[in-house]
């Protein structure tokens, strides 16, 4: 690489630095004193930050571990919770589907109406409670014991005259209305008797 002469620049620099402060005679002593002083104080300053760094690192590690364990715990529990949550929904959905079927389907589904009827007769509980039980708690309906005098199978049950409960159920648009109508009919019949 070639060297640039540029004598003007060299001369300008020579003149510029002519009045630069000269190296003091006691510079070395003063430098050594200052360096010694700095080195004595430096470790004291450094110990705390290093300790703090270790503490901070440990805290972060603990936090990460805690987060990791918490996450793994929740991922284990979630599927179980989801199962529990989904179970009643399925029943409810089935129930809703049933409620949306046609009159013919209602007529065919005599067992359900019978059960509803028997339960209504058996319990005769306040209106609200009954409605709630019919709508939401499907297992309660299925678990309800039929009255001993009621026929259990389709073959055994042979209606000789139009069933008022079946007619009432056929008129209802959904299971709630059906339940209400059935209940009203039952109450009426009971009052008449």
């Amino acid at each position: 690489m070639r060297t640039f002469e540029d004598t003007d620049i060299r001369e300008a620099l020579q003149r510029k630095f002519a009045d630069t402060p000269q190296v003091p005679s006691d510079l070395n002593e003063r430098l050594l004193q200052r360096i010694q002083k700095e080195e004595d104080t430096a470790p004291k300053h450094r110990i705390l930050p290093i300790a703090l760094r270790w503490i901070a690192a440990a805290a972060v590690l603990v936090a990460v571990l805690a987060l990791f364990t918490w996450k793994s715990h929740t991922t284990k529990i979630q599927p179980q919770m989801a199962k529990q949550e989904n179970a009643p929904k399925v029943i409810e959905k089935d129930h809703v589907d049933k409620s949306q079927t046609s009159h013919a389907n209602f007529a065919n589904d005599t067992r359900e109406v019978e059960q509803l009827h028997t339960r209504s007769l058996e319990t005769l509980q306040p209106k609200k409670k009954n409605r709630k039980a019919v709508r939401v708690e499907e297992p309660m309906i299925t678990e309800a014991e039929p009255l001993p005098e009621e026929p259990e199978t389709e073959q055994e049950y042979l209606p000789t005259e139009p069933d008022p409960f079946l007619l009432a159920a056929a008129k209802a648009q959904d299971i709630r209305a059906r339940g209400e109508l059935v209940y009203q009919e039952v109450v009426q019949i009971m009052n008449n008797h």
Binding site: M1, F4, E5, D8, L13, K16, P21, V23, L31, L32
Partner: protein, 175 residues
């Protein structure tokens, strides 16, 4: 070197007494305040003692390595004191092409007036450019050595030197 590496004060004092003057002089050329220059010199040695393990004798002499540390500290100090911004007029200077030979001829006239003017112009240069001129022209260091001190490649430094010379030449012409 071994004594310095093992942290012995004898080695450290020997190093300071041998190179303290060189480092101080280099810093004092850029930082006129003696107290500031002394502080920067002691900072240079402190940093050198702490990072003595990173010194590689194959790459540069101990003096050059110390100058490299001093250069960084001085540059940081000067930038903190006077942040440099490039003006638009200054950037327009690069638009005209001038050859190295032309520049050398223009900057080697021996004209007193020009030399005085150059002296003033150099005060207005950014610290890193002024330091490069000092290392190259005043301390008469090789471009490779300057590149080690300034942590750049010799080629990049040659380009930078060309730009500074061109800038000075343009400013001389304008005045």
């Amino acid at each position: 070197m071994e004594a310095v590496k093992s942290g012995q004060s004898e080695g450290q004092s020997l190093m300071v007494s041998r190179y303290g003057g060189v480092v101080f002089a280099m810093i004092a050329r850029q930082v006129p305040n003696t107290m500031d220059a002394e502080e920067l010199t002691s900072d240079t040695f402190l940093r050198a003692f702490r990072s003595i393990e990173s010194y590689d004798a194959k790459r540069a002499s101990l003096s050059t390595w110390l100058c490299r540390i001093a250069y960084r500290l001085t540059l940081d100090f000067l930038k903190r004191r006077r942040p440099f911004t490039v003006s638009i007029e200054e950037s327009e200077v690069w638009q005209t092409d001038v050859t190295d030979e032309q520049l050398e001829a223009e900057l080697s006239t021996g004209n007193e007036e020009r030399i005085d003017r150059l002296q003033m112009l150099m005060d207005d240069l950014p610290p890193d450019e002024r330091l490069l001129l000092t290392l190259y022209y005043f301390e008469e260091r090789q471009l490779e050595e300057c590149a080690f001190i300034m942590d750049a490649t010799p080629h990049a430094l040659a380009n930078r030197l060309y730009r500074i010379r061109k800038k000075l030449y343009k400013q001389l012409k304008q005045s």
